[in-house]
């Protein structure tokens, strides 16, 4: 494995002590997010695609649809499949080969946030009960990692879903006519799931860490919020949290998710 230097300790000490004073190197406060920009239609062969940048962190997300057989336990519902790849192109720390745990977790946490919030109305994606339904594929790729790929992935996934159109389907031949998009949107509910990861760095809780800050994160809790409800949560890393800290994290994620929601809506206008 290639050795890549993580944030050196004398710098880490300063980051932690600065956070205690409520400050960060780039001028943000502890709950401040970097600027989010979303470019639409970055890959035309996808039914919906976006590029999301959070500061220098960048992901590309595409939505593809295909017709397939429903699962036996949900014969009248469409399928959802989310995968994430941490491309070796995007950081010296990522390697080629089978996906490592970080990439698997990135895909799974993104998947659960979207699935559990019922953002996609999967029952409306049924073509013929028990036989044919639409499968929605959401694929997330990292392009540059400067921290917080986790939140970038969900933002990208919901933005790509928002602009995606269902392709035409020829019932007779059973073929999807790619490139011929219907005017039909992917059926979505109003409850847009927003993932917010809260990190514990030293004694402080912060959101949207840079790579340098994420190196120092001892614990991450990712929550997906929508309409004042929490639909998924994952605590990562083997570091314990006080009950009070965890409760504070719930409030932080709710507060921050509202701000992100506004930014996404502005970006998609």
């Amino acid at each position: 494995m290639d050795k890549v230097m993580t944030t050196p300790e004398p710098t880490g000490e300063r980051i932690r002590s600065y956070l205690k004073d409520g400050k960060r190197f780039d001028g943000r406060n502890l709950l401040g997010f970097r600027r989010i920009t979303i470019d639409k239609d970055v890959s035309k062969k996808a039914e919906g695609s976006v590029r999301v940048k959070i500061g220098k962190t960048e992901v590309v997300v595409g939505v593809k649809l295909d017709v397939s057989v429903p699962y036996a336990d949900s014969p009248n519902k469409g399928n959802l499949m989310v995968t994430a790849e941490m491309l070796p192109l995007s950081s010296q720390r990522f390697e080629s080969g089978p996906p490592k745990f970080d990439a698997i977790e990135l895909g799974r946490v993104t998947d659960r946030g979207i699935r559990e919030s019922k953002f996609i109305e999967l029952e409306k994606l049924c073509i013929k009960e028990g036989e044919k339904v639409w499968t929605v594929f959401i694929d997330v790729y990292s392009i540059n990692d400067d921290g917080n790929l986790m939140d970038a992935a969900t933002i990208g996934a919901i933005a790509a879903l928002k602009i995606a159109k269902i392709p035409k389907y020829d019932e007779e031949s059973g073929k999807v006519l790619y490139g011929e998009l219907s005017e039909m949107d992917v059926p979505l509910s109003d409850s847009m799931p927003i993932a917010v990861s809260v990190h514990k760095v030293g004694d402080s809780l912060i959101v949207d860490p840079t790579r340098q800050e994420e190196d120092l994160s001892e614990c991450r809790v990712t929550l997906t919020n929508h309409d004042g409800a929490i639909s998924s949560l994952q605590k990562s890393e083997s570091k314990e949290l006080e009950i009070e800290e965890m409760k504070k994290i719930f409030d932080i994620s709710e507060e921050v998710s509202r701000k992100i929601l506004k930014e996404i809506e502005n970006n998609l206008k």
């Binding site: 970055v42 590309v60 593809k64 790849e85 192109l89 089978p98 594929f137 392009i143």
Partner: protein, 238 residues
Amino acid sequence: MSEKFKRSDGRAIDELRPVEARVGVVPNADGSAMYRSGDTIAIAAVYGPKKMHPQHQQDPSRGQLRCDYNMLSFSVSERIKPGKNRRAMEISEITKWALEPVLLLDKYPNQVIDVFIDIIQADAGTRCAGINAASLALAHAGVPMKNMVSSIAVGKLDKTLVVDLTKEEEDYEEGEGPTDIPISMTHDGKITHMQLDGKINAEQLKEAVDLAKGACEKIYEIQKKALKDAVDFGGEEK
């Protein structure tokens, strides 16, 4: 060559699709670039030279080049399963062969230069776009090179030679059908990569090579501009 031949997008037979090139698109990398030809978009990032791992692959006499070509799952109409397939593995190796001749690797014993190419959107000519992006990214990374490499797909549609095929042209069905000839060249006109699928006679294939040379010269100018534009002298100074 037939003068009457009409391309579906109205281009002249030796006309490239609209091209865009930019370096520095992946800030984490030692060098990076984006190359777009029409609806085909490739990005490339270079890491290194750095120590070769695993150790048993080290070459004490010179450095090595490793290329990794990958298409994003949604870059084509029918979603590709993420992960390596045989086609991607072959193109990765072809890309290495196309680029390695210009690199001065003697200075880097036991080291490796990694080139990662990702196709964001595909409309034919992805290996050529990938090679053009990779050549730019290698230069941008400060890797010592004898020259730049430029790459183009020449095609024969029925009996007519054209440059820079689109997917629609690759699927051309009339007459003798399509022949696809991707070629990569150094700026001083040496061929580092060539492939062919289809049917063509030797005389016309010679013409195809000459046509590729002309197209590669245009691509070289675009690559040169992208690298020169990346240095900001600011203000009035040029």
